[in-house]
Symmetry: D2
Subunit: 134 residues, 4 copies
Amino acid sequence: MKPFRWQARIRFADTDASQRIHYTAMFRHFEASEQEFLHALGCPYTSHEHRDFGFPRVHVECDFQSEIRYDDLVDIDVTVDRVGTSSFTLAFAAGVAGRNAAKGKVTVVCLDRHTERSTPLPARLAEALRRYLA
Amino acid sequence: MKPFRWQARIRFADTDASQRIHYTAMFRHFEASEQEFLHALGCPYTSHEHRDFGFPRVHVECDFQSEIRYDDLVDIDVTVDRVGTSSFTLAFAAGVAGRNAAKGKVTVVCLDRHTERSTPLPARLAEALRRYLA
Amino acid sequence: MKPFRWQARIRFADTDASQRIHYTAMFRHFEASEQEFLHALGCPYTSHEHRDFGFPRVHVECDFQSEIRYDDLVDIDVTVDRVGTSSFTLAFAAGVAGRNAAKGKVTVVCLDRHTERSTPLPARLAEALRRYLA
Amino acid sequence: MKPFRWQARIRFADTDASQRIHYTAMFRHFEASEQEFLHALGCPYTSHEHRDFGFPRVHVECDFQSEIRYDDLVDIDVTVDRVGTSSFTLAFAAGVAGRNAAKGKVTVVCLDRHTERSTPLPARLAEALRRYLA
């Protein structure tokens, strides 16, 4: 299956005094694309099925490959790197005008809000994610 | 003329432990709508005509009228409150599902990058802004 | 009484491509000084007495008077502008090396977490704030 | 040599609707500790010796080990993981009340501002960093 693509425009608040994107802003755009990806799967974090779960991140990483500047339009491709029992890893590839700009990964754990312990992923979410395994 | 409308979705990074939007995030969304508004006017800050100018903010304000939460879709209406010689004020009205949620103003000064002093607004920008005076 | 003073250093994440502070970062530093001020008063938002209350902002504003850059040390003076029945307004004055850089106000409402309606300020907090009325 | 330690307090703007720290905020605190570490070494990015160089990040990562909440005091230990010819990697270990909370790495490249290409680290900076190799 083709990756899910989300396009973001770089804001002033995303940049820093180097005149390039501040690296934390890339993660904000990854998060936006994750949120839109889960909407596209029909499994948003806000769905009724997820009301007893939290989805904290346990690992995040990003490599910056080329510069990203104010007003750039960034295409972010989301794929699924791994679907485990109680966690999954998303992979993000960001490009500007066809040039590789950044790539990252985020590992999300499913947490039972009541016990505060990890718990198996909701079945419908796990199944939807598997369709986007890279 | 009708306001320029921009729609934003509230991200996790926009919220805080109160489970509502953190107030600085509202300004980031105002900034995004300002940037898209200037693109719609054909006068983005990145245009060649603006290469000798900076556009710092000298006053910003916001009133919060009702709660804004994660995953909300926020409609932001941009109008022009004032066009002066070397500055202008934009007004923003944010709503969620037709309910007033926040309203703000931002006053932007045109700065000559070389002298670091305020300078008259580029004529084409001033004219375009006047078409959206509320 | 003398204002409460808090010193902040400007981080890369606080700046933008103009090579100055991004205006939302000033509010983050105001918020840090508010938090430290309430600790100094012995009334932090996390205190047991406040467990049934939320403290959302209903109005925020800031004027930018001169430039603030990466690595600058900013002195933020906090005073109390107004103490009402169920809300209060803090005033912030930020300076760099003795030069006025920014001044702002934040109006905070005391909200009953259960009814989601405004409620009188806790007596000890109101009294402590009054000692810093400008 | 003992790690360089920097203490940060968690702000409201650092949290999200999960009532824990938003993961990008951890990186902002790592950045603050990096900046203070370089000051302690006598080699801040703003020093005259560094005027021709930029220091963009090419890789960042973080593991979240336990929860971090509003108003927590976080101790961040900075060590040097690697000093290469034109780049270096810092390691960060964040704890709350003696409990491991997060650990991360940031790889910084020295960039010649004129050629926009990587260039050997300034000798004094490389030497100072080597003293903190873990």
